[in-house]
């Protein structure tokens, strides 16, 4: 007998009369999440938020905030950073390790925890938001949900190969619980909210 059969048989032999799945729709909130709440939470976990009226502003803010950097990768349609590099198709992901700033689009944000939702179709290669020194994400202020329940409602039928909620910069507190920003991933996270 294969291990698969062995495990399934052993599990089946020990199944019991358990409860039905609970209804969890009542946990969903009516209405949208507010940019203010999102900003408060993201700031508290080390992220920075800028409100912008048009995508043109991003380039100016980037130039101001990240003056000392050279290698910029931009994956947000509608934004043009003068010094951005064009990514070759089939680039070896390891070659991205010296990227200073990556700009990527997100589908929506979650107010309660400061997370934004990003999918693989906007990330080629997938390692971009992790390997860059600094990460900037652009969202639309109309696309903020209050909690994770509405988030999963939104993406219920979304067929991604890979997706990730990103909430703040990479961090660790493994040494004596001292918070250090910039563990393996980005040392900063900037979110542009287009109003």
């Amino acid at each position: 007998m294969s291990s698969r059969e062995k495990i399934l048989n052993a599990v089946r032999a020990n199944q019991f009369n358990g409860p039905a799945l609970p209804d969890i729709e009542f946990l969903e909130r009516k209405g949208k999440g507010t940019p203010e709440k999102f900003k408060t939470v993201l700031s508290s976990i080390g992220g920075e938020v800028f409100y912008i009226n048009s995508l043109d502003e991003v380039s100016r803010i980037v130039a101001r905030q990240f003056s000392a950097i050279s290698r910029i990768v931009n994956l947000v349609p509608g934004i043009q950073i003068p010094t951005q590099e064009t990514l070759l198709e089939n680039i070896d992901p390891a070659q991205l390790h010296s990227v200073d700033l990556a700009l990527i689009p997100a589908h929506f944000a979650v107010a309660e925890n400061g997370a934004v939702w990003v999918t693989a179709e906007d990330l080629s290669p997938r390692v971009i938001p992790f390997i860059c020194e600094h990460l900037a994400i652009v969202i639309n202020s109309g696309h903020i949900v209050p909690t994770m329940h509405e988030a999963y409602q939104l993406i219920a039928n979304y067929n991604y190969g890979y997706s990730v909620f990103i909430a703040g910069p990479s961090k660790t507190a493994d040494i004596e619980q001292s918070l250090v920003i910039g563990a393996h991933g980005p040392r900063s996270l900037t979110v542009f909210i287009k109003v």
């Binding site: 199944q15 997938r126 990730v164 909620f165 040494i175 910039g182 563990a183």
Partner: protein, 457 residues
Amino acid sequence: MEKTSQDHSELAANFNKDEERVDWHDETLWWIRQKRDKNVHQLPEWETLREVASQIKNNVLSRLHIYLKQFEKNATYNGMIVHWAADAAEHNQIVLDLLQGRGVDRMVKSKSMLTEECGLNEFLAEHGVEVVDSDLGERIVQLAKEPPSHIVLPCIHKKKEEIGELFYKYLGTPAGVSDPQILTETARQHLREIFLTRKVALTGVNFAVAETGEFVVCTNEGNADMGAHLADIHIASMGIEKLIPEKKHLGVFLRLLTRSATGQPITTYSSHFKRPSLGKEIHVILVDNGRSIHLGKPDFRESLKCIRCGACMNTCPVYRRSGGHSYHNAVAGPIGSILAPNFDMEKNADLPFASTLCGSCSNVCPVKINIHEQLYKWRQVIVQAGLAPVAKKAGMQVMTAVLSSPGLYNSAGKVGRWVFKYAPFAVNNQLNPWYKQRDLPSAPKQSFKEWYLTNKA
């Protein structure tokens, strides 16, 4: 993990020798517990979430064979390769075969308590495969050749000066450097080189969704993603109890997990792996290793609901003052003490006694496992199996005799009060473990019964 013949109280006594460190350990974990409280109290629906999560997990355990098959079908459809491992040895062999099949002898690994349980690193080392743990805390204990002492905070038992010494010895930092900022930066540079050069990455799994055949990995550092996306082959090892039925249930569990673990609203990264990128592979290993037997024990199967947040450790007065290594098990603390006897009751017979049964663990558990009740039940099973420590058994027999005889009980009380008053050295001495690191209050002049008889009028 390192085997030891010492029991919890002996190992705890060792940890307790450094009183300053014990105080620091105690206060730091309590601080995390307070962060958890602060965050949790912002959600009016917290108790509802716990209840819902508990029901979902109970549903999973009662229909696990269905969900396992559903997950396998959907994950395979998505292009992932699913393996089944009946025990630790089979799991380790599957990993080794995947590596050797491609001529790979180096692997990067993010946090996985399951691989600790299976002794994967040691096994691979014996077969000439080098494994580098990429979670900072895990890398630190790996350099120190120790197991993690906490499932979420692997090196919480270490002081920064000791970590500085390890980095001086292995990673080339100058002697005497202990600034967490500098040490973390050093680890970042060291591990970056590892991420960029490893062809195989192994991660744990926080949740696997039967409905969609995807799995979710949560980290703050980003190390799971760095490893997985830069490698050609991603191996994800999971216990079969990590399944949840539907994607929308992630909303419930991701709201509970990190608030309970560290008092953050969510981890920095909650990564959903569903299909490999073009030209890459994702292998999922479903591991039983005793879980299916555990499932057949009605008194104890609820511990399989655990989502490994560590909240029960942070709140436990015994864990905080005895340290994770005193539990001699991959998972320490209250939850480890009810999981471990399922694997090996004889070896872990001491663990259910390493508790005050105060119930704080059950109160903070995000999936409402009745941890302290299971600790109490395990004690009964262990005593009935004749596995209780000799001194404890003798003591219990004396207690039984005294408590079942009113005459003996009254005179024992009188003698006890007399001894406390006139001859405290008879009990407060090195032979009595009760007095290690603590004292008893002075004895009352009379028993309640004597007081009542004098005052009842």
